[in-house]
């Protein structure tokens, strides 16, 4: 069970959060992107053997959506969100 640094509440138990998936590519202009670009944007996510940036929602807390960098090998949080107490 991770100890996740919420920018508003500080470190809290993982059970208070809902995982929001890795931070993928920016949303391309749907009217300009090619089919392949669009499919890639939708389906291909970063899957590094190492730090990944991911979204978490403090659903059972202050309601903040924020991102952290978490190392997928160790689960160490290598970069906390800005403004974490």
């Amino acid at each position: 069970m991770l100890l996740i640094p919420c920018p508003f509440c500080g470190k809290r138990n993982e059970s208070e959060f809902i995982y929001g998936g890795p931070v993928g590519a920016d949303r391309p202009d749907p009217n300009a992107a090619t089919d392949q670009e669009w499919v890639e944007y939708l389906t291909v996510m970063p899957n590094p053997l190492g730090p990944v940036q991911e979204n978490w929602w403090h659903a059972r807390g202050c309601g903040d959506w924020f991102t952290i960098w978490r190392d997928t090998r160790t689960h160490d949080i290598v970069e906390a969100p800005d403004g974490t107490k």
Binding site: P22, E40, L42, T43, M45, L49, R73, H75
Partner: protein, 424 residues
């Protein structure tokens, strides 16, 4: 060549066992050889797990391609196949999936003879314990579609469920989630995961396939024409015009070295076993509404699986809260297990495709094949190995695997299969 290799393989039987017993078991040959690593092969299979070894075996057996090397970073059968809960079943929902798993289950049932290695395949049947009406509707939908493909799924009453699973004393009328009924899948079974890995390894070896342990592939090599050319390993370059990536959770780690992007994410799934006790539960118990399933191994351990963890992970570890959810769900239906003890638990990482269905295909890199996106991939090993071998040998997908090729993503035609996990 093939012939004298086969003679090397000593037939396992009660007679050979007795014969060897008298010689103090000093004459058993190696289950597989350790030949020197050549600098090129017709096919290189990366990963000596279930799917990799099976693919190599069927390449040799069905398509006569024996100049094959299986390269393994660790040791054969040391990956997810050593970490799964050996549940073999074909109760899926969609036309794309059911026939594939029906084939796989049938192949498993004949595997002991085919490989001359005791898989200890035990056709236990699986009982789904149903606790909500929407789940029952979904299972009924599966039932009638499965029937078209000859997979059996019968609804039974709560009383019959309790008769088949005497230890199921929870889930009464006043329970939080009362048991409504059950669904019986008689095709389901369990076997020994080590036997599957070692049996395929031994039989593939006997047909000329080389298995190289402690041989870690660091990157995939492409020629100027963009085609696959071979692999770079900790023991040097190995050339091959065809390379199969069968490395479970690490698929993207490798394919990225060839500049390939795949819709895969690596997640952690855990399992645990209880202390060994005398026979108590004869069937595989699956409780989709509660989010756990288990069976009792021949050694007497309850082998229990639950929901996957949130978030990508290459760390084989236990999420305490996910684990506790599974245990609490189990105790709700099996209160007598409160005094049963946890003996061992572990995690394994696997990659999950965007639509949670497997991917078996030749990639955009000519000559580079992947088999990935397997969760619950153990049950798919024989059919997965056979159909992928077909693709590698013939260059065209086997009809059973056609729905699982990468092309489905081109127009977002996902295979939305609800039957891939009991995760709630």
């Amino acid at each position: 060549m093939m012939i004298n290799i086969i003679t090397i393989m000593q037939k396992y039987s009660v007679f050979s066992l007795a014969r060897n017993a008298l010689s103090g078991h000093r004459n058993w040959p190696q289950a597989w050889r350790s030949p020197p690593l050549k600098d090129s092969y017709d096919v290189v299979v990366i990963g000596a797990g279930g799917h990799g070894l099976a693919t190599a075996y069927y390449l040799a057996k069905e398509f006569g391609i024996t100049n094959v090397a299986v390269l393994e970073r660790g040791w054969p059968g040391g990956g997810n196949i050593a970490r799964n809960t050996v549940t073999i079943r074909s109760n899926y929902m969609r036309d794309e999936s059911i026939p594939f798993y029906v084939k796989s289950v049938a192949m498993y049932e004949g595997l002991t003879d085919d490989l001359n290695f005791n898989m200890m395949h035990s056709k236990r049947t699986m009982v789904d314990v149903v606790q909500t009406w929407p789940k029952l509707r979904e299972l009924r939908r599966r039932q009638l579609t499965m029937d078209i493909y000859g997979s059996t799924y019968e609804q039974i009453t709560t009383e019959e469920v309790r008769k088949r699973i005497p230890a199921l004393t929870g889930g009464g009328p006043d329970a939080r989630l009362p048991v409504i009924c059950g669904m019986v899948h008689t095709d389901a079974g369990v076997n020994r995961h080590d036997a599957v890995a070692w049996g395929y390894a031994r039989a593939a070896d006997a047909r000329g396939v080389e298995i190289h342990q402690q041989t870690a592939v660091q990157s995939l090599l492409r020629g100027a024409d963009g085609k696959i050319e071979g692999v770079e390993t900790n023991r040097g370059v190995v050339k091959a015009a065809k390379v199969v990536v069968a490395v479970s959770g690490h698929t993207t780690t490798l394919t990225e070295t060839a500049g390939l992007k795949l819709p895969l994410r690596t997640m952690n799934l855990t399992a645990f076993v209880s202390e060994p006790v005398k026979p108590l539960v004869d069937v595989i118990v699956n409780c989709p509404d509660s989010g756990f399933y288990f069976s009792q191994s021949d050694k007497g351990e309850m082998v229990i699986g639950g929901a996957p963890d949130m978030g990508q992970s290459f760390r084989r570890d236990i999420k305490q809260h996910v684990f506790e959810d599974t245990v609490a769900a189990m105790l709700s239906l099996f209160p007598s297990f409160k005094k049963l003890k946890l003996m061992r638990q572990w995690g394994g990482h696997l990659d999950i495709a965007h639509d949670a269905s497997p991917i078996m295909d030749q990639t955009d890199v000519p000559g580079l094949f992947v088999t990935a996106g397997w969760w619950g991939g153990y049950k798919a090993i024989p059919a997965g190995g056979l159909t992928l071998a077909h693709l590698v040998a013939k260059g065209a997908p086997h009809p059973l695997m056609a729905p699982f090729t990468l092309s489905r993503f081109r127009h977002l035609d996902f295979v939305m299969e609800a039957g891939t996990t009991t995760a709630r």
